[in-house]
């Protein structure tokens, strides 16, 4: 009995390790071997008690035209076909119910729809930042997400329908680097 309980405890320990490990392996593979895309964003700054502060990402590309005749249900898994616009940013050119045999695509879930458009819940909807930096990142983004000044975007790696957020960029700089430069400029002007 005691041996059996010990074995059960060992199996539980392995399962507990396997869950974070499997999350890491899949995302590392995508980050290393996935194709690179850029998405325009519009963040705000909520608070997640378990995972600290993050900047919520609202991607312009998450609203897609409703394909004719496609029946949808809430939380349904769909596949969004990726394309690049003339400015080099990614957008979804179509939605399909089954993963396509060729081309780049992203698996997503339907969050809302009407006759014209479908809103998707994408696998990257937040950028986690250090507790003190998140409000600064949000301020920086807001300054760069006006209609006349859209210089914020995220880079994403996509592989086999899985997407992993790589970095948030402002004025073509990773957000950390951008904030460091801004702080440097502030000190010089002081």
């Amino acid at each position: 009995m005691s041996r059996l309980l010990g074995l059960a405890l060992a199996i539980l320990f392995l399962l507990q390790l396997a869950v974070p490990a499997s999350m890491i392996v899949g995302r590392e593979m995508t980050l290393r071997h996935g194709k690179h895309f850029r998405f325009r964003t519009a963040p705000v700054d909520p608070y997640d008690p378990f995972r600290g502060r993050f900047v919520a990402l609202n991607l312009a590309a998450s609203r897609v035209a409703h394909p004719e005749g496609m029946k949808l249900t809430i939380r349904q898994k769909v596949y969004a076909l990726l394309a690049i616009d003339e400015e080099g940013f990614a957008y979804f050119r179509d939605l399909v119910a089954q993963p396509p045999p060729t081309g780049d695509y992203l698996a997503a879930r339907v969050s809302w729809w009407n006759q014209e458009t479908v809103d998707l819940k994408l696998p990257f909807d937040r950028y986690y930042a250090e507790e003190d930096l998140a409000p600064e990142i949000e301020r920086a983004y807001r300054a760069h997400s006006r209609r006349d000044n859209q210089e914020a975007y995220i880079t994403v790696r996509v592989r086999n329908g899985n997407g992993v957020l790589e970095e948030l960029y402002i004025e073509d700089l990773p957000v950390g680097e951008y904030l460091r430069r801004q702080a440097g400029k502030g000190e010089v002007s002081d």
């Binding site: 320990f13 974070p20 600290g52 993050f54």
Partner: protein, 431 residues
């Protein structure tokens, strides 16, 4: 050496003294009779509470430290760090299982720490890879990975955390349109452990705390399990749950600390629901949400309601057979309300439903009061008065009734109260 320790020492020496013929068996037996049974060392609940709370605080502290999100650490470093709390928790739990399996304080502390470490690890991976927010799924995976610790380390605090966690999953999942109706099955998983504690009267404090948390979590979870169809189901569902609480824990022979939360929530829940059913607007609302309207789509909710109702009827039959009339009155409410709802306002006028609900509460309050007066139990007398006062207060502010009707009704009830008082007084004088 204290007297207790001295007796324990003496009893330990007796077999050797008999063997070496310093004493004979009869003398040894007389010594045992004279001093009585050796008192066993009492387990200190303080130690167990401190161990469990300490582990809880350290675990929560680690979650907060990791939530700070250290930008200076590279991705591989953070990935390695994700496993640190988990491996530490597993090492402590493994060591505790090997060396201190019989110590409740160690097992509670180690299991609680590991339970929280599982959540911290998964959350840190999510933070490192900016994984999209899916809080219900995160909570469910965390709870299921932590649950076996309840049985393997026989620890109660993880069971308590698990019940709170699955209730959170149910609330979040219902809003996110997940199948939250499975909450009942998830909530049932730690029940055998808790029931073992209750049945064998072990760790009474833990069993009582678990009883409070379970009774409250079931109330919250049941409502959110039927989130989409709540308008149709809330009255019969909650009345059935309250009736089961009252009837089941009135019939089980368990410690009063364990049955108290269920009996309290069940009885006052029934009274509160019946008070709501004395309001005209509530019955009107029920008419807009007929019980049969959701159709086949709501089969899990209908199944849940059927199971609860059958349980109520079974327990009600047992209560009637045992002559527990007061408990039976609590159990009668759900079937009667369901019949009223099925009849609808076409067959049973809303006015009649309102009068029936008022009479039911009046009867319930009166019987509880009478039972309290007969048994001389002050809490029961207060409960009876409380039910009647609540009914009176609701009627006093009920704008549906004209002032004149309310005035006459109040004078009549007041006279009845005075009459009962006089009767009781006269009976006391005669006695």
């Amino acid at each position: 050496m204290s007297k207790k320790d001295g007796i324990t020492w003496l009893y330990g020496e007796l077999p050797e003294l008999v063997r070496s013929r310093v004493l004979d068996e009869a003398t040894a037996e007389r010594l045992r009779t004279h001093y009585g049974p050796a008192q066993q060392r009492r387990r200190s609940p303080g130690l167990v509470i401190c161990g469990a709370l300490g582990a809880l605080l350290v675990g929560l502290g680690i979650i907060l430290l990791l939530a700070h999100n250290w930008t200076d650490l590279s991705r591989p470093q953070r990935t390695l760090l994700s496993f640190a709390p988990l491996l530490l928790g597993q090492a402590v739990a493994g060591w505790c299982w090997l060396k201190h399996r019989s110590s409740i304080a160690w097992c509670e502390g180690a299991a609680t720490f590991l339970f929280l470490a599982v959540g911290a690890s998964i959350a840190l991976v999510g933070q490192t890879y900016h994984i999209a927010g899916d809080l219900p799924r995160f909570v469910l995976v965390w709870m299921l990975l932590g649950l076996p610790l309840v049985y393997l380390l026989r620890s109660s605090l993880p069971a308590l955390l698990y019940w709170i966690g699955v209730t959170c999953w149910c609330v979040l999942g219902a809003i996110d349109r997940l199948p939250a109706v499975f909450f009942c099955m998830l909530a049932a998983l730690p029940l055998p452990f808790w029931w073992h504690l209750v049945r064998n009267a072990q760790r009474r404090l833990a069993a009582a705390w678990l009883a409070w948390v379970l009774s409250l979590c079931l109330v919250v979870g049941l409502g959110f399990s039927c989130y989409g169809f709540f308008g149709n189901f809330w009255t019969p569902l909650y009345l059935s749950l309250a009736a089961i609480y009252v009837l089941l824990f009135g019939q089980l022979s368990v410690a009063s600390a364990v049955s108290r939360p269920f009996r309290l929530l069940g009885s006052w829940g029934t009274v509160a629901l019946l008070l709501l059913l004395t309001l005209k607007d509530v019955w009107r609302g029920q008419a807009f949400h007929p019980l049969l309207e959701p159709g086949m789509e709501a089969w899990p909710q209908y199944l849940l309601l059927t199971v609860l109702l059958l349980a109520v009827i079974g327990l009600l039959a047992r209560a009637l057979a045992a002559g527990r009339w007061l408990d039976a009155l609590f159990g009668l409410a759900p079937p009667l309300v369901i019949l009223q709802l099925l009849a609808g306002p076409q067959r049973l006028a809303t006015g009649i439903s309102l009068i029936l609900a008022n009479l039911y509460l009046l009867l319930l309050g009166g019987l509880v009061l009478r039972d309290g007066l007969q048994s001389g139990k002050l809490p029961r007398i207060n409960a009876g008065l409380g039910i009647l006062s609540a009914l009176i207060a609701v009627r006093f502010f009920d704008s549906q009734l004209p002032f004149t009707v309310r005035g006459v009704m109040f004078i009549l009830i007041g006279l009845a109260f005075l009459g009962v008082n006089l009767l009781v007084k006269r009976r006391e004088v005669c006695a």
